[in-house]
Symmetry: C4
Subunit: 364 residues, 4 copies
């Protein structure tokens, strides 16, 4: 019998619980990275090398994690990152995740590859962001952007690091394909697609995205999205300071320092390592989010101390979803909130903003 | 049968002996750290990275470990750190530890959460310090300070890194609570408290301290303690040079560079790494003690070479207490004294003061 | 039954397949390095420490791996390195490897110690380079150079790091000797040589090369080769920038930054570590190739970002040859080409030349 | 059956062979270090982090390892370090080791704690050095110095890092004592000493040296030795550049950068790490030898590239002695000579002196 949610005391516990209930190929799809998974491992190792110098004798009795994200309040500096096909983890899929995020007071990002339509997720309320891939079909991405806006989404997260899907060898070796009941709700007519066609040695998802996504994504697409919608735009998947500065110059509201959780270029710089230079380069010209390896409230504290305004978490909510549906996602977000408040207070910060002033050191 | 004390040849031996006799949840309470125990491990790793350049051809025939601590003589630059509830390890609890420290010629710090009243410990003589937590109940900490002074304590060690107890997951998973016969001698009427109420998934000790301790501890509390007593004041739990300088400016006698043995903010800088900058910043304006990972006389030598005037040891005396009561604590302190004298002489220093001049290097 | 070639999804898979089919002593001959194999391991570890900062929002729809090598087109910035005695791995030996390289559009380097004559390999077409050892017998190397030129080879790769064979202890322990049917096609009359005489404790190959190779190889030999042929000359086995600059000054077309795959001086600097200083020192005065540890397309990307114009791969084609003859070599080269194209595009580079502009970082 | 000597292909092989034949407590006495053996391990790790940049295209056909040591020729830049009680490893003890060193053309250092009198060893010829401990008994060390000179020794090696024996816990745990037939030939009347009195928990050797050695060893003792003999003086056990400079100023012929093989101060800087600063500080004012972790010819090359003029090896000859008596020691020295010649040539150096010019790098 799987452990009760209240027996999951950190995200490692939730990860183990998810690994125990998910079919192996789904687990691999969620957990895996590209190539030899060097960047996947480096994302975590980079966090583990960072240490923080706490301050003392400051009143933290009112310590609170509240902040703003894209100018609007959030209960902590965190949003749920876009992850494809939540229904792989639980029948209620993105609907459950969205409800849990709303309860936890943080934005939830519905993916282009969501298995539940954005309208259904957004109808439940809460802050919903929509993640956009650049699709081959002309005008299709702009259509999706408008559809998200109409559904009540608050922001568009344009993913810029997927001209095509990275070589995720776990999926290739598993011949991974979507089960029939899980579909890309925003693409095609809802019918079976290339993502459902199992191959002896290959990833059906990679084949599907190769068909659907455009490798010709450029800076002009950012302008195109901007003219299609009034929503604030977030560019996700930036590691080079030059690219971040250019994005800010185009008026995006935020960049997400990210290597796509180690799922695109294996050998890409860990997000934690890229973060300080990006944060310094953009200054106050846009918000700097980050993802890749955030697994505890201490990691959030470290990210803020390194210059982020907030973090995204991708895999952990999916672990929660697998382990306990909406309540499982809620457990993940509650643990992160409790841990982050604990870390803030123990570091002598009465608020999330205070974390930005902490000094960090990298140890070997 | 557990090994005889004379078969314990270093502190690792004592640790193993304690692990063999203590109930698992008590062992975990003593051994554990916060969160993923990254800082707990880093405290040790940081010591292991430090290497010392010994000097030669100096007469060390009279090599002695004597020094002064807070201006008064001690047989070596070491004090026993405050640790809660020694009676968890041995029925004689803090009384035994105190007698052993007296025999060894070093100060013993009685904790606010002592399981034996400070008067009882102090009555046995020796140098006794009293550790103070800032309690929610108004004036209570000042009362404790005066009580300690009346009992004959020599110094007050105000712990500044515990607005609340860190997330010690071992205790949470064990549902750890105090057994009935072990009580917080200085809190309440000696009756059972929240610390005794076992929860399915939670630390009763964390619940108890949340009830009792104030998260509103600030610099003004330091002034309040100072005006309540004539005893020298030590601030324990400082890692930032700015905080140390401010403490010295307030007239404290010493700061303890410490992350609470990895039990508060997981991800906090190892004490060894924080030490040199703190020592340089305060200069001669107050004494600089340190704790966190001291497990041998060589570690004491390294701490001194890095700028400390002395170290505190917390877990090792408790291991000794578990392994052999008063004699076990004595064994721990004797091993440290012998090892430190050995290290001093082999480094070419005829006295503890000489260790301050040694050059250190950090290797990968 | 060995896995089908299409089930080999990266070079690690091919390596395992080769290890499963090759006799142990042949495997050791291919896999082993000199001494404690510290440099062998460091070649890989050095690649693993390098991380790349990808760029985004550049059109990579036309991303192609094509480049030039020694001024002539190649399908990717890679050549097959010289490796002795391919017939140890497969009866068709260098003929199969050469055909696969031709299909893949990359140069193949026939070794002085080839088990198939260069004429036979070159007759199959494609770009063939010839690797030259400096032989004791006067004029013999120049003769070989002319013979290679006559056979249609495009370049001469003079190996400069083998005054004698390094201490390859696996071969020594195995008493490794060539089986009768495998012979050094360019040395002697094709008869059995010292390389076939097994010793109880010693490498017959080392004995053979000690007999045949000259330890008096100097810069004047480079001039001698140059005057014997009109072919472009590549010096392979350079790690010191001074040596690279001197080579360029002599008019060589390229240097190969290499420690001979960890098979010569154990303790020699990893090629990846030596590369940047060599590339900077020679500037545009000659091409800078490298080898040692290239095991994926990401490694090629890293090498280019560190200053190489192309890489050589030695062991992987031999693994492919063992696992599947010509088709196995092809599989290796196709995997590298696919992986490199993938890495290029995901790093935001539309061409191999773009990789030279990427920023790299070294992590612990 | 133990392997034949010709099947031992590197020093690791010899070490294993010795471990297989020696009684466990003798093995521990030879292999062990002080404390947690951190410095013992760091000595090796420091060598492993060093990499060398070889040079190419230099004629190494005449590559030779010859050099001078203390101004007189030696077949390679290496001497056998003083190690106590060779008869623990083999009945012929230091006599066998000395004969092997003579055959190999390198100096052998007879220890104060030799189990064979220096006269007996020196009678066999070869270059013999004598190692001197500073003894409590007044004038005794000077007497030993004269005795060594009379016996024909070439140099006096005054060990300066042993005011007393370090805490070698293996010996303590083993209650290690000398077997009756092994005696300190130069101390006492050859009768049984404290070194033979086994204790339940303690090292009889440490007790013996505490009785015999003086912790009051100072710079004036160096002068005293100098005035007692005309032999060149070597100070062994220096890590601080200041101490090396002072030694050179007193006219010693050489210093040995050494932490006594990790057997004295645990936590002392690895010799490899201390070497460059010492070499730079003394310049040409005296020779700089080093020991601690030399296990191959490549290590000798690295030590020279880091500034040493030669190395000492202590444990490896004892391994050889255990594995095969005089022939075993010879095997060790021959392996080192062959490996060093190989390393020299592959690094492009025609002589030991050339190794001093090689560039080194430290990798993580």
């Amino acid at each position: 019998m799987p452990p009760a949610l209240e027996e999951l005391h950190d995200l490692d516990d939730v990860e183990r619980a998810a690994a125990a209930v998910l079919p192996r190929d789904v687990w691999d799809f969620v957990a895996g990275g590209a190539g030899r998974e060097a960047t996947l491992a480096a994302n975590r190792a980079a966090f583990d090398r960072v240490f923080v110098t706490p301050r003392v004798l400051r009143d933290v009795s009112g310590c609170a994690t509240d902040t703003t994200l894209l100018g609007r309040p959030a209960r902590m500096p965190l949003a749920v990152a876009p992850v494809a096909y939540h229904r792989l983890a639980h029948p209620e899929g993105e609907s459950a995740t969205g409800r849990a995020a709303r309860e936890a007071g943080v934005p939830f990002t519905v993916a282009t590859l969501s298995s539940v339509p954005v309208e259904e997720v957004a109808a439940a309320g809460g802050r919903v962001w929509f993640q956009l891939y650049w699709l081959r079909e002309c005008g299709r991405s702009a259509d999706l952007a408008r559809r998200a806006e109409d559904a009540g989404c608050e922001a568009l997260v344009l993913t810029v690091d997927v001209p095509w899907m990275g070589r995720r060898l776990r999926d290739v070796r598993n011949g991974f394909a979507l089960p029939g009941q899980v579909r890309a709700a925003h693409l095609g007519s809802g019918a079976r697609s290339a993502a459902h066609r199992s191959q002896a040695a290959g990833s059906a998802l990679a084949a599907h995205t190769a068909e659907a996504f455009s490798p010709a994504l450029t800076w002009s697409c950012v302008e195109e999205v901007r003219s299609a919608t009034r929503l604030p735009i977030v560019l996700k998947g930036i590691l080079a300071p030059e690219d971040a500065v250019r994005a800010a110059g185009l008026g995006v509201s935020a960049v997400v320092v990210s290597n796509h959780g180690g799922r695109q270029l294996d050998g890409a710089l860990p997000a934690v390592e890229a973060l300080p230079a990006v944060a310094e380069a953009v200054g106050e010209s846009c918000e700097v989010l980050m993802d890749g390896g955030v697994r505890s409230g201490t990691d959030i504290l470290k990210a803020l101390a390194l210059g982020a305004s907030a973090v995204l978490v991708g895999r952990p909510p999916v672990w929660g979803l697998a382990a306990g549906g909406q309540a499982g996602v809620r457990r993940v977000l509650d643990l992160l909130a409790e841990e982050f408040r604990d870390a803030l207070g123990l570091a002598g910060c009465a608020s999330a903003a205070g974390a930005r002033e902490l000094r960090t050191a990298r140890l070997p």
